[in-house]
């Protein structure tokens, strides 16, 4: 299964890259390669690639900036944003912020696990900065109904200081998380209602 996911991910990265090389005119056209991977309606169906629907524009702007500056390192994103002007960054973040938020997974999850994981969300105060509905605000991303694989990977990257955020807050709060707790939290965030 892991192998298949990896192949799928690699293939989609190639597709995205190919699409990106076409210089389009309008913002909608220019954003098409982004959405090819991240999902046309704000919901990513590509393994490991986040849904962008419902993300606050200030968060998107910061991430695009960090990609362009290669402070957050994801090769394809660094490549895609390489030639972006400041205005490009602003326009793309405003455009993408209009995508509708992703819904919760249809699979409502194992109730025992949901209970355990929900308690973790409170214990680790995710619902403080990310708001009670986990929708995020301003520079703080929406984590509600994000892709489970992406959430788990990101938490793990914060814990190991390899995801470079704007400030040290996430690196700090993830220090004591175990892999099992990370898996539970991602499970919950993707599914809760």
């Amino acid at each position: 299964m892991q192998k298949i996911l990896k192949i799928l991910a690699a293939a989609s990265v190639l597709l995205c890259a190919a699409a990106a090389s076409l210089r389009a005119q309008t913002l909608t056209e220019r954003a098409a390669p982004c959405l090819a991977c991240h999902g046309e309606k704000g919901v990513s169906e590509t393994p490991d690639i986040p849904s962008l629907g419902g993300q606050p524009a200030p968060y998107l702007l910061i991430q695009l900036y960090l990609f362009r500056e290669k402070q957050r390192k994801v090769e394809i994103m660094n490549e895609m944003t390489k030639g972006f002007t400041d205005d490009d960054l602003r326009n793309f973040s405003d455009y993408i912020a209009k995508l509708p938020p992703p819904p919760a997974l249809a699979d409502t999850g194992d109730p025992v696990r949901m209970q355990r994981a929900g308690a973790l969300i409170t214990q680790f105060r995710c619902n403080s900065c990310h708001t009670l509905t986990l929708e995020g605000r301003e520079n703080i991303p929406r984590i509600a109904h994000q892709r489970e694989d992406y959430l788990a990977r990101t938490l793990h990257e914060y814990k190991t200081n390899t995801r470079h955020g704007y400030d040290g807050v996430m690196a700090e709060v993830t220090q004591s998380l175990s892999d099992a707790q990370i898996a539970d939290m991602a499970y919950f965030m993707a599914r809760f209602r």
């Binding site: 900036y65 402070q71 214990q123 900065c129 690196a171 700090e172 220090q175």
Partner: protein, 424 residues
Amino acid sequence: MILRDHSRIVLAGAFAGLLLTAPAMAQSPPAAAPAAPAAAAPAIPPGSPLFGRPDGNEAASKLAPVAPPPLPSAADKLPTAKLKVPPGFNIEVYASGIANTRSLRVGDKGTVFVGTRFGNKVSAIVKKDGKTEVKTIAEGLYRPNGLAYQNGTLYIAELSLVSKIEKVEDNLDKVNKPTVVYNELPKDEAHGWKFIGIGPDNKLYVPVGQPGNNVLNDKDHGQIRRIDLDGKNRVDVALGVRNTVGFDWHPVSKQLYFSDNGRDWASEDVPEDELNRVTKVGEHFGSPYCYQGNFLDPEHGWGKKCSDYTAPIALTGPHSAGLGMRFNSGSMFPAKYKNAIFLARHGSWNRTKKFGGDIVVYFLNKDGTVKSSEVFMSGFLVDNGYIGRPVDVEFMKDGSMLVSDDWNGAIYRVTYGKAKVASR
């Protein structure tokens, strides 16, 4: 569904959702007893960085680090006209359009070097024939926040290494790549960005913050380190330092003074941030056991005594985030400001009513203690929101003072006397 403070409500909500949307699940035994009392969220484990962060308090839940806009403000959108300084002083824009301007250093030939926390570049500002030119002199760096300059060499502190560029001002259009001087530094993101300086002893001072809000640390964190300019002979000069992002040496006594930021989430008003003075090598300044000289930490302070640690010489306000500081040894400002400390308070985030966002001047007694203080430059904080945030101060050869503003990506210059606009 709303994730409330009480885990009970979270879980009841989760179960309600399950029952409504998944009838098949509802028939299974585990879901059949949703009314059973849910286990309370486990208490926060000792030593967790989350300790003290209130659960479900509405006012507290609105607080999070204030993120500056990543892109610099346009020159005509700067808040310069709203900034205030005492009578007789003038403010002008020295440079703008440089993203996330942080540490400032001035070279022997008058070049102003600018570090950044979120970009990958170090910039150099050159004034020539009334024109301002901004050049990128190093790029592809990671959090190049800290800068130091001596005898033609610029030192750059990234998150976990220090490098240098020799003869940096000789040809700013063709600057050599920085070469690494020192990299025996932790890679923590939390409090990992650095301020650096070169002391009167010709040694490089490099701080390492504690890797979290309020955490115990090993021997490689929570300190100001001194190394030779070639990176050798480490000595930990100050311990119990939570996170200093500014220090300087007294022009006469040559003692090291540093700002330190107190912990978050203890309360709105306590502890205050600190201004400290190092009088002997290896002094311990209290964190995370004792803050502000008299506040034993509710988590780590048990069994400790504040009298075992060096108390600050001044408290600089709750959550006010005192960052860059310099002594004014120049002669442009009136005599009362001679050898006084100018401290940039970046401004709070962990406080309902924001505090700071200004430059405060500290006047010293002959013995090096603080006599009094007053706000010198203000106006960055308007209606509980920032229109700018001062990060670092640096004096130019003529005695004027530069102030970096990472919110707007700009640098202001404060002069005294008849307004002379250097940039025109």
